[in-house]
Every structure is written in C-alpha cells, then in structure tokens.
C-alpha cells in the first residue's frame, strides 16, 4: 500500500493551523471555559497514604455561605464488580470508581475523598477544610519489593496473583505475573563467554504537563450531560464517565478543549466525573480544577520499578541469551505498564534465548497512568546499561555491538511475534556516522554514552470527515485532540491526496457528537491512524470529484484521471479542470461533497531510536551536565519534520529529567514531599543544550505514506545513554534513577 512517489505537501513545514490562536492567547484550553452561573469545584484529598474511612461529615462545610453542593463516593452509582472495557484497556470499574472518590479505603496520600461546588474557588477550597473525615490509619506499603513480601500489609484483601488466567490462592499485592520465553535460556547462557547481571531501581516520575487537569460539566434539564475538558481522548472520557455514572453514552457529549500536554496522563479521568456529579447535585455548570500538588499527588505518575537484567555474549559480541525480571509499582490499583516494559526490553536485539518475567504490584501511591512509551524507559535503563557493560568488557564499540545484534525484519521478538520492516539498524548506523559520535571525547570527567530503544506504536480507530468548499478548500473534521501539531500533520495527508496546499485545509477537532469514534491521542497513533483516516476521507472526496468531472464532461468515470491537483479526461475529449474550479461546480453536478474515512489499522510500525549524549560530571558535587545530545529516530515518513523533531527533542528532554533529577520523594508516612514544580525539578532551558534530532525514514508498509508513530520512543534511550556516559566519565555504573547529585556522591564514595 506504500505510495512511493514524490510528495508535494508531505515533508514540508507549513505553519500549523492552530498556530495563530496559540501564539496570541486566543486558543481556549479547558480551564479557560466560562459559562453564566458557573460554580467552582475543589476536591478534598486524603492526608494519609493508607487508611480506612470511618465516616465523612460534611455538615460544617455545607453551612459555609457560598457552598452549593458536596459529593462523596456515596453519590456514585453502585458499580458492583463489573468489568468495564474502557479506553485504557481492561479496568475494573470498582477500582475506577474508587479512584474517583474513595469509598471504603484511601490508598494513597492525595486520594480524592469528597468534592465541593461553591460560588468561587476560594470558598470551595475553604469548605474542603471543613469536611470532617474520620480515618483509621493503616501502615502504608511504599516500595515494590516491600509490597511483594509475604507479610506486607495488603492494599486489597481480594487481590490474588493471576498468571495468564490462573489465580493464586493467597491474597497478595502482586496483581499479576506475566512471562515471555523464547528458546532455551540456560543453553544460551552456557554458550556465553561473558555474562553480566545487574539490578536496577527507577523512581516514580510524572508526565509533568504544564496544564493541570480541568473539567466543566453541565446537565441540561433533559438530562443531556456536557463536559468541556482537556483530554487526550474525548471518546474515552465519554466511555469512562458513562461507566462510572452508569449513564448512557448517547446522553453525554464531551467537548475537547485545547489541551496543555498529556504524555499519556490525560487519558484516565479523575475530576471529570466529579464535575458531573457536582453539576447534577447543584443544577449548575461546575468547573473543577486541580492545582499543581493535586496533579502530582492525585493523578497517575509512571511507576517506580525494580529490574534485574542478565545477558550473556560470546567474546565476539554476539548476545546468546537474556533474562529479565521486572517488578513495577502499579500504584493503588492494578495496571502498571509492566506488560509493555517486558515486551520492549530486548526489542532492539535479535536474541535466540530469552526469558522475561514481569510483576504488577500494588503500593500506596497514586494509580499509575501511561507516560510516553509506558514501561519501556524503565526496562531499557536496565538492558541498555548491561549491553554497554558487555561491550566495554569485550572492548567492542557500543554502537558496533548493537549493529552486531540488531533486530531486523523477520527476527522474532522475545514475546513471540515476528518483526515486520523496522529501522533499528538504520538508527544505529546513523548515530555511528553522526559528527557527534565521531567528535573527540577526551576531557577529564567528560563522558559519552549511547543507548537504543524500541516502542511498538499502535493503530486503533480514527474517523475523519471532509466537507468540500466551493473555493477549493476543504474543512477537515477530526476527533483527535491536537497536542503537538497533529492538525497540521493530519491535514497535510489529506492535502497531499487532493493536490492542494496544507493551507487549503481547515482542520477542526470536534466533540463526540460531531465526528465518528476516534481513539485517544496516545500510543504515537495520531498522525499514523487519524492521518490514515484523513487519507481515506480524501480518497473518498477524490472518487466523488472524479464522478462530478465525468458528469461535467459527459464521459465515463473511468475516463477521468486526477493528478497534481488537476482532473483531466483521457480517451477522446481534451478536458481539464483544477480541483479548485471543480469545487466551484459541485452545485450543478449534484450538490455538496462530503468525504469520510474510518480506519482501525493493524500495521502501526514499531519505532526505534538511538541516542548519543556527552556529559560532564562535577566530581566534587555529583552534578551531571548535559553537554551535547543527539537523538536519532526512525519516523517511517516525517509528514511535518518540524513537529517530528519536536517530539524527538521533547521526549529526549523528558528522559534527561527522568535520568538526572525527577522523582517522587516520599517520607515514611507515604507523603510526597516534593509535590511542586519547585522541588520536582523538571529540566529548565538552562539545563540543556540544543537537542540534535536526526530523522531516519524507513517507511512503514502499514501506512500509505510510510508513517510510523514518533511520540513515544524518544523517551526510551536517554536514561541508559546518560548512565553509560557517566560511566565513561567517572568509571562508575549508576543503577538507580534518578542519578541525582547525592546518589553520584554516594556512588563515588564522597559521602
């Protein structure tokens, strides 16, 4: 299906369609929504990491002037233990509801307990302090290995470990065990000349989007519920809210406002059902906003993890066997990304003998949520460090050992499926040839490191409608919220089909009543799948336009061709008309044209990345500075290269933050002590060099233009690349994230 021809629009860099709105402050984000009679909601959160709720008394809060309504878990319809299959996969509805407003137990500090609607936000906030909650405080479990101990306090008495459908007898904090096995690992290790085994610890980190969660809800008198919010997926909000409130999806309209970052963290709902409950109770529109500490403490970070990696290789550098043990913190409810972590951990390599065990473990921390290639960065920190160590011990260049073992089309992944056409080798080769890698690297306490990473990407449903305008432009209606320039990258694919400019497309992201089902902006799928739907919708328009030209010229449709924006008649008549001119004649040839496209493609091509980083280590303070950074990535086909580079640069920098400073710091009671942008320490622009993003294009056969998802894989390599660079600088293997100054000082024996 790959169209291997020259492109006119694809690969260019037009100004994004929503650009002017966003540089002038006109673009409306969720919190910007205003309505007459609006009430303001705030959520009361648990001060304890683990406690039983004995009672909730709202009477003092209700008496505060300006308070219009208070809700608790009692206001959520009783869900029983129904399994709801929602946007995030299999989610136990009870867990979902309890995470919205705790019913019997609070399972993390920051767990929502009640919410207030009042005439202004300050009153709502004050009212929260007047709600009396009596707790029976229980001992918290804050670390994955501690939680796996047989005598650990249990978060959920009914959880028993499941292993692919088989359930253990005893209750446990281990919700599930997964395993992938390929070949005979024992045999593979026996064939190795060198075996390296190391243990790794990674901290809890947050997506860190700048816009806090928000939601405004309103019930009409006829029961129609409208929710205005920032979300990665309006349809998944509709599904989750419908399940939680036990309310028909046909009565819920979700209006996606502009969204201020998500990275996976704005798929799960938190305050959207709360806003709906408050709106129902008060009969008024209610806007609920989180503040920054609510975001850190009450929304899903990505898990901390404990990982053990063992790899064996021959002295020539051929990897003979690999073994991994991954234990991930799910947070308060099951569902960590240990699955994808286990799936991605050895994916850059073709290894005959592999065994991977993964454990999903509940702890008294917020329920984890997706974050950019969820699970894969944790895993790659382990595997890519071990590969580096093998290379170093064997005296082989670290990129050379990757080339020697690189996965390619036809190789079998450790979890079973066979790789289609992939660009692993191409990214390593491009990194090796890059001037950064060949530049001298000799200064004292300076080091260079490399690492590779894999993310599989995903397809899922997307729908696009195109309305043709009489002036030769089109209105493109889509359901994918635009977090990073996807209006442009989707519009460009339609423009390419129709031979028009990117500027001739007016893309709109619309509400759930106004476009066909579209899955979330996530999984690196939007430019791939919604772009694919736009391609199909444009093809639909093209077919209809060809029919109109045939009517116009009184020829058979088969005698009309379309190329370079011109319709022409073949066989006989010498007729020609531009797309634009034909658009002006739709009325007389049969009326308006609406094209549509829906897809659910299975061929999302996996993405590989290889990063090179230079660091300087201050041996006296343990501080690591990033001196130079190059990120190579296979994009399949870069539709809008600027925004592909942007994804690569942004992902790499989030990885740098994860590597060096970002983590949830907890005290013994389970309180996060750094729940602010001040102390969570995301990178500022003064902490970084320019990030050289190098796009490699190995077209994905599963997309008409060869697109692969690009959003997620750039966060996979940075942690290991930086760890390897630190080793190069000071000769110490860092095995715990973040590699913060105090940890470096300890590792260097300075404290």
């Amino acid at each position: 299906m790959l169209e291997n021809k020259e492109h006119k629009v694809i690969g260019t860099r037009p100004i994004r369609h929503d650009g002017v709105d966003k540089v002038t402050g006109r673009a409306l984000y969720g919190a910007d929504f205003q309505a007459a009679g609006l009430l303001h909601g705030r959520v009361l959160r648990s001060p304890h990491a683990h406690a039983r709720i004995i009672s909730i008394d709202t009477s003092r809060a209700e008496a505060l002037p300006g308070v219009k309504g208070i809700v608790t878990a009692k206001d959520i319809p009783d869900a029983g233990d129904k399994i709801a299959d929602l946007g995030e996969g299999a989610v136990n509805l009870k867990y979902l509801c309890d995470n919205i407003l705790a019913s019997d137990k609070v399972l993390y500090k920051g767990h929502a307990v009640a919410a207030v609607a009042a005439t202004n936000p300050h009153i709502a906030e004050e009212a929260c302090t007047l709600i009396d909650v009596e707790y029976e405080v229980l001992p918290p479990v804050l670390e994955v290995r501690q939680a796996m101990e047989p005598d650990a306090p249990l978060l959920h008495e009914h959880i028993r470990t499941t292993s692919l459908g088989e359930t253990a007898e005893e209750p446990s904090n281990v919700a599930s065990h997964i395993q992938h096995k390929l070949g005979d690992p024992e045999k593979g290790f026996a064939a190795a000349d060198i075996v390296v085994e190391r243990e790794f610890i990674t901290g809890t980190v947050h997506q860190g989007y700048i816009e806090p969660h928000n939601a405004t809800a309103h019930y009409n008198a006829d029961g129609q519920l409208t929710i205005w919010c920032s979300t990665q997926g309006a349809f998944t909000v509709r599904e989750q809210v419908a399940e939680i409130l036990q309310y028909p999806i046909s009565k819920i309209k979700v209006v996606p406002m502009e969204i201020g970052g998500g990275f996976g963290g704005k798929i799960s709902v938190y305050i959207k059902p709360v806003a709906a409950l408050l709106a129902k109770k008060t009969g008024k529109p209610v806007k609920v906003l989180m503040n920054r500490s609510d975001v850190f403490e009450g929304t899903g970070p990505t898990p901390a993890s404990f990982i053990r990696v063992k790899m064996g290789a021959t002295k020539e550098g051929k990897i003979t066997a690999a073994e991994a043990y991954l234990a991930f913190e799910a947070g308060a409810y099951p569902g960590s990304p240990v699955g994808p972590g286990a799936m991605c951990i050895f994916a850059p390599y073709n290894i005959e003998h592999v065994i991977i065990d993964g454990y999903d473990v509940v702890v008294n921390k917020p329920k984890t949520a997706p974050y950019r290639a969820p699970g894969a960065p944790n895993a790659a920190f382990g595997s890519e460090t071990v590969v580096d160590e093998i290379a170093e011990k064997l005296g082989i260049d670290p990129l050379e050992i990757r080339l020697l073992n690189a996965a390619k089309e036809g190789d079998r992944r450790a979890d079973g499926p066979v790789h289609p056409r992939i660009g692993c080798i191409e990214t390593v080769e491009a990194a090796k040839a890059h001037p950064h890698y060949t530049a001298p690297n000799g200064k004292k306490h300076h080091g260079r490191g490399v690492a590779s990473g894999y993310w599989f990407n995903i397809g899922l449903e997307s729908s696009v409608t195109i309305n043709v305008n009489s002036d030769g432009t089109i209105n493109l209606i889509e359901g994918s919220t635009d977090i990073g320039g996807t209006r442009a990258s989707i519009a460009m694919q339609a423009a390419e089909v129709l031979g028009i400019s990117a500027e001739s497309v007016n893309p709109s992201v619309v509400d759930t009543n106004s476009v066909g089902y579209t899955a979330v902006t996530g999984g690196s799928r939007t430019t791939y799948a919604t772009g694919y739907a736009a391609y199909e919708a444009a093809q639909d328009v093209k077919r209809q336009m060809i029919a109109r030209a045939a009517i116009l010229w009184e020829v058979d449709e088969a005698n009309v061709q379309f190329a370079d924006g011109e319709f022409s008649s073949i066989n006989g008549k010498e007729e020609q008309i531009s797309f634009r001119d034909l658009c002006g004649r739709l009325g007389e040839t049969g009326g308006p044209i609406v094209g549509s496209g829906t897809v659910n493609p299975g061929g999302a091509g996996g993405a590989y990345a290889t990063h090179v980083v230079d660091v300087a280590v201050d041996e006296e303070t343990g501080k690591v500075d990033i001196l130079r950074y190059t990120a190579v990535q296979d994009a399949g086909k870069a539709i809008h290269p600027s925004y592909v580079e942007g994804q690569i640069q942004g992902g790499a920098v989030q990885g740098i933050g994860w590597a060096l400073n970002e983590e949830y710091i907890y005290n013994d009671e389970g309180t996060m002590t750094n729940a602010s942008f001040l102390d969570y320490r995301m990178p500022t622009c003064l902490d970084l060099p320019m990030i050289d993003a190098v796009i490699v294009e190995v077209p994905n056969p599963g997309h008409p233009y060869g697109v692969r998802g690009v959003g997620e894989v750039p966060i996979v390599p940075p942690m290991a690349a930086i760890a390897n660079a630190i080793y190069d600088a000071i000769g110490i293997r860092m095995t715990e994230l973040p590699m913060s100054p105090d940890r470096l000082l300890k590792a260097m024996g300075k404290i």
Binding site: I83, D85, L86, G87, E88, G89, A90, S163, L164, G165, E166, S176, H177, I178, Q179, H180, K181, G233, T236, E239, G264, I267, G335, S336, P337, G339, P340, A342, M343, I355, G358, P370, Y371, R372, A373, P374, G375, D415, G416, P417, V418, H419, P420, F456, I458, G459, L460, E461, A519, V520, G522, G523, S524, R525, N600, G602, G603, A604, E712
Partner: protein
Amino acid sequence: MPIVAIPSLLRNLTNGEESITVPGTTIREVIDNLEVRYPGMKARLCEDDRIKPGLAVYINGLLTRGSILESVDADAEIHFLPAIGGGMAAPSH
C-alpha cells in the same frame, strides 16, 4: 493450519509444547479446537465468550482487535500476549 504460539505460562497445559498447530478459520474456532486437545485452555484465554480483558491477540505479528471473531488464514501464526495497558487505549467494544 494456523499455528498457535503457546505462552510460557500456559505450557503446563500443553506438556511443555511451545507451539501447536490447530484447525480453525477464526480465533473462536482455534480456541475451541485447542480446548478439545488441551482442556482448561479456553478458561485461561476467554471469559463469557470473549477474549479475557488484559489479553491481546496477534495474528502474523499484527495486533488485532482482540475479538474471537477475527478470521485467521490457513498458515497464520497466532500469539496471545498481555494487553498493553500503556500509552494507548486498548480495544473498545
């Protein structure tokens, strides 16, 4: 006939066999035929005539919708893997 890669955690049901060739033109038929040969298999893979939540079905290396109605070619390779709870939505019905 389609080949089913047996996940390591289910190999206790297949006496350690790692892949099984079974007849079937849909995932449902394949699973039913697996069940005939290896009783207990269906309960590990399905729930209420659906693939269990938390499980994903790959045919020839491509992630499917996870429906038992999915058709399979005569020489298809089928994998049952943990569903991705990750950065993307899992199949919705």
